[in-house]
Amino acid sequence: MTILNKLFTVNALIVAFLVVAIITWLSTVISQKLLKGKIPGAAIAILCGLILAFFGGKWSGGTKGISDVAGLSGFALLGSSMLRDFAVVATAMGSSLKEMKKTGWIGAISLVLGVFVSFFPAVAIAYAFGYRDAVSLTTIGAGACTFIVGPVTGAAIGANSSVIAISIAAGVFKSVFVTIFTAPLAKWVGLNNPQAAMAYGGLMGTTSGVTAGLAATDPKLVPYGAMTSTFATGVGCLLCPSICFFMVKFIFGQ
């Protein structure tokens, strides 16, 4: 047993390779045999990942999903933003710079629109749940942009930690929903070409949701969605504590 323990701890990244390979294999079998290819294997595998993350967090009490479970710490490195961004950049090889230039302005509009369409509905919900002060309303609204914009905004305008926790949770939920719903909704919203992927990336904003959602839909679209979504957190951090905060103060007083 101690040999196994040592093996899993010392070789954490290799263990993660093996476990992800097994998840992928099982998901592909489920996709092809049980669902007759209606849901792609990658989508099922990502959903499995989210379910594992839920139970990982529940069992371990940690904040990093399954990677807090003994023996599976390698997931933290394999699923880190460093490797994710490295792989996302790699997908750009062979995609068209011309295509991106052509829709550059749509990307810019989608980024700004994405912040407002995330922010105000979330503020309305926070209001409906009894929050009345501009700082809390703004922080929860910012969390609906991405789970980084929430805490950055909250810290900037002085929100309390329980409100910041809610804003992070809202951002995580958004990323989870974007991940799950992109593939089934793609056809319906016309997400099947580079332009649409750029608009989608800017609107949704959440890089983890966008990159995972496109992985489950059509990996060829990944670089286009990633190109715009990589600016979203920055735009959100810029607009939420400034313009959005002023607008909330103007509407709700103080």
């Binding site: 992928t24 959903l47 989210l50 790699a90 951002g171 608009a199 920055g234």
Partner: protein, 118 residues
């Protein structure tokens, strides 16, 4: 050699991240603004340039291609490390503040595309 491809990718990645961090600092916000985007543009420019000059051997290209193909497994691992349990334990307010914007944003996609086609 494969490592040349990986090295080129690493170079573009680091330069892009540096630009993104600097832009964030310049704007006075604590976030990386578009780092991945700048890295991608650099990689596209370099690979297209090398291809035109005929100095991008298949092995070098494979060094980049490997990481591009590792993308989905990495995303699966990333999903498995999200703080999903904590999100659920924050209750219905966080859930609704996450789901309502997502629905509205999906509705915005066809609208924006119509604008594009005009």
């Amino acid at each position: 050699m494969v490592i040349y491809g990986v090295g080129l990718l690493a170079f573009c990645f680091l330069v892009g991240q540096f630009i993104g961090e600097s832009l964030g600092r310049f704007l006075g916000i604590e976030a990386n603004v578009g780092g991945v985007g700048f890295s991608m543009i650099l990689l596209m420019i370099f690979t297209q340039w090398f291809q035109k000059k005929g100095i991008l051997p298949a092995q070098t290209e494979q060094g980049i291609l490997f990481w591009s193909l590792m993308y989905i497994p990495i995303i699966i691992a990333m999903s498995a490390t999200q703080n999903v349990f904590a999100a659920f334990s924050q209750g219905i307010l966080a859930l609704m503040a996450g789901i309502l914007p997502t629905i509205l944003l999906f509705l915005c996609i066809p609208m924006l595309l119509k604008l594009l086609s005009k």
